[in-house]
Amino acid sequence: MPKSHPILLVEDNPDDQLLTLRALESNNIINQVEVAVDGQEALDYLHRRGEYAGRSDRGPQFVLLDINLPKLSGIEVLREIRSTPRLRHLPVVILTSSKEDRDLIESYNLGVNSYIRKPVDFNQFTELVKQLGFYWLVINEAPEL
């Protein structure tokens, strides 16, 4: 059974947020999805500071991270996660429009767990989100945060 910790979705584009949430929902993934709209907010959530200072829930289970973000880019968020001992083993999946080499290589250099390019075709996207959820929530075992 899917674990009940939340999923962190870092996405600034409201259309993409909505489509992603819809794709998760239509795949019966019922985990709570926390949405951060920029890199800074994502780190605040993970470090339980600022707006998220008092959050008591655990997790997240994994992070869906866009690259092109206001304030701090997805690459910088990933770097911060990997250099923070407590967060170092957190599964991070880059979910982005680009598959430019420099993004791809930089992400892997920083230790990303997966790199997914968002397809234009929504049906394909839905299928992809289904597989992602199934893999990271059901199949994969990760250390507790």
Binding site: L19, R22, S97, S98, E100, D101, P119, V120, D121
Partner: protein
Amino acid sequence: MVRNRERDKDESTGRRTAPPTRDASPPEQGAAVRPSHTTLESDYEYYRDVFENSPDMIVSVSAEDKTIIRCNQTVVEVLGFSKDEVIGRPVVDFYARECLADVQLAMQSFTTHGFVRDAHLILRRKDGKTIPVTLNVTAMRDENGKILYSRSIWRDATQGDRIIEESRRRNATLLSANVNLRSRYQSAEVMFRSLFTHAGMGITIVSPAGKILEVNPALEEILGYSSEELRAVSFEDITHPDDIDLDTEFYAELMSGQRTSYRVTKRYYHSTGRLIYARLTVSLIRTPTGDIQHVVGMFEDVTERQEAQLRLQESRRRFELAAEGSADGIWDVNLETGALVASGRMAEMLGLDQDEMPESIEELLDLVHELDREQVEETIGRLREPGRRFSVDCRFRFAGGEYRWRQMRGGIVEVAADESFRMVGVLSDIALRKRTENQLHNLNVQLERRVRQRTRALEQANKELEAFSYSVSHDLRAPLRALDGFSQLLLEDYADALDATGRDFLNRIRGAAQSMGALIDDILRLSRVTRMELTIVNIDLSRMARELAQNLHAQEPDRAIEWKIQPGIAVRGDERLIRIVLTNLLENAMKYSRPRKPAIIEVGMELHEDALRCFVRDNGVGFDHRYAKKLFKAFQRLHNKADFEGSGIGLATVARIINRHGGEVSALSEPDKGAAFYFTLNCEAE
């Protein structure tokens, strides 16, 4: 040795035992000229009596085999052999063993001089006893001077020896001096003979009258004639006609005693007809009384030296001609003295009169521009060994303070003749070249500056392009996802509110969004292909084609496609990019052969106009060849979108990649007759 002939005779007479066999009249002056037969006969008898009954033993010895031809009665009596036992035997048989060395010396002396005087030897009698004798030999010659036989006279020295003993007692010193003299004479004789025979120099001994008496082996070899052949001709016969009289004057002076020898180089004809050069030294041997006894000629074959000298002269002449005609100045420095010798042209090239020309290397270097001086001195100074060469450009100061560019080239040579080390070389006028070089240099500097500017501009443009495509890849696709995603959501969530036309519109929106997504991907790929750095490796194109064919076929598994992939196609290129090329071409081939059953798709390599080219061929719908060039430009399509999907960027990408590989791409087709796409790769070009 001096002897008293009278006393010898008396003593011998006293010893005689056998009486004369006939009556003999005493010799009379004039008897020999009396023309009467009787008288001649009695003369013969007389001489025969004298011969037979001479107190001395007389034998005639053949010049050829040294056997005794004749002997007198005294021999028979003294030695105890019969005449038959004596005649025909080698004369050497009659000597005692202990004196054989002396016999040998006497024989050599005879060969050399034609006589033997008072040689002290020992004869062996038939009864084994020995008897000391003095030997005198004279030669009997024919009218040509050839020795016919020798006449040896053995005189019993038993008595003589006694007297010598006394004499020795009386005057030991004198005698010992004489003995020394004799042995020295004999050993000198041996030395002379050996020298004569083994000398490397040709030697001839000629009589004052010009008759060749002796020729040594070296001379035989130099001239190619045996001594017999040489005696038959005269030297004049084999002398080059122009050289015969070269030494006439010297010879006369030699004969008249004005000079003791002379030396001259003459040309002779070798027996093979070849001309040889001989250095001839002519001198005289005189008797103790000063008469001319022999003329000695010594020949040294100097043909090789002479020829080498002629060649040297020739080469020097050529060199001088070249030096005169050369545009370069030629110089030669003696490294020990620093003395400089230069061709006339050299002074001209330095703007100097001949008499102003530097006479040492230091003076020459004084004329070099001070900015170049150090380099020139260092270059020349570095040169230590023969065979090394240098070349240095420098400016020389001319009258009026002007400087002109010259090039000094040279090297060190060891002059074999005097083992000195010299530096020789040339001075060339490089003023024009230097001017051109300067212009070239300036042009290069300008060009480089321009290239740097362009490169900077290009780099800037590249960066902008990269930033542009980055943002395109991120930002341009997001709206498309929204278009497609929300259209889909409309279809799902509000299907009831829409009729078929409404749903069709939504599907068209989705289709447009997706094809724009594909278009963006293609543009990005084309842009990436342009920017990407190539990594050239060996590629097995056949294997790559088989893998791609399998993948592509898997996407349309229901199609009947016959793949003909030639095995073993090896090329060099960037693997990722070549994969893009092949993917594009195979996709095209599949796409345009879709109406065919079966579709036939070939991949191969062939020789075309002396170059290998790869091809992808299909039996599809083909295209009008007139538009082939348009195919490879971005967004150019030859087919209706409704029939064959595609952005029109695939072949532009192929062309761009092949272009970056230094190759060429082309296409051949006719409508409905299939199409062939060709490409060559030439990676070393980039």
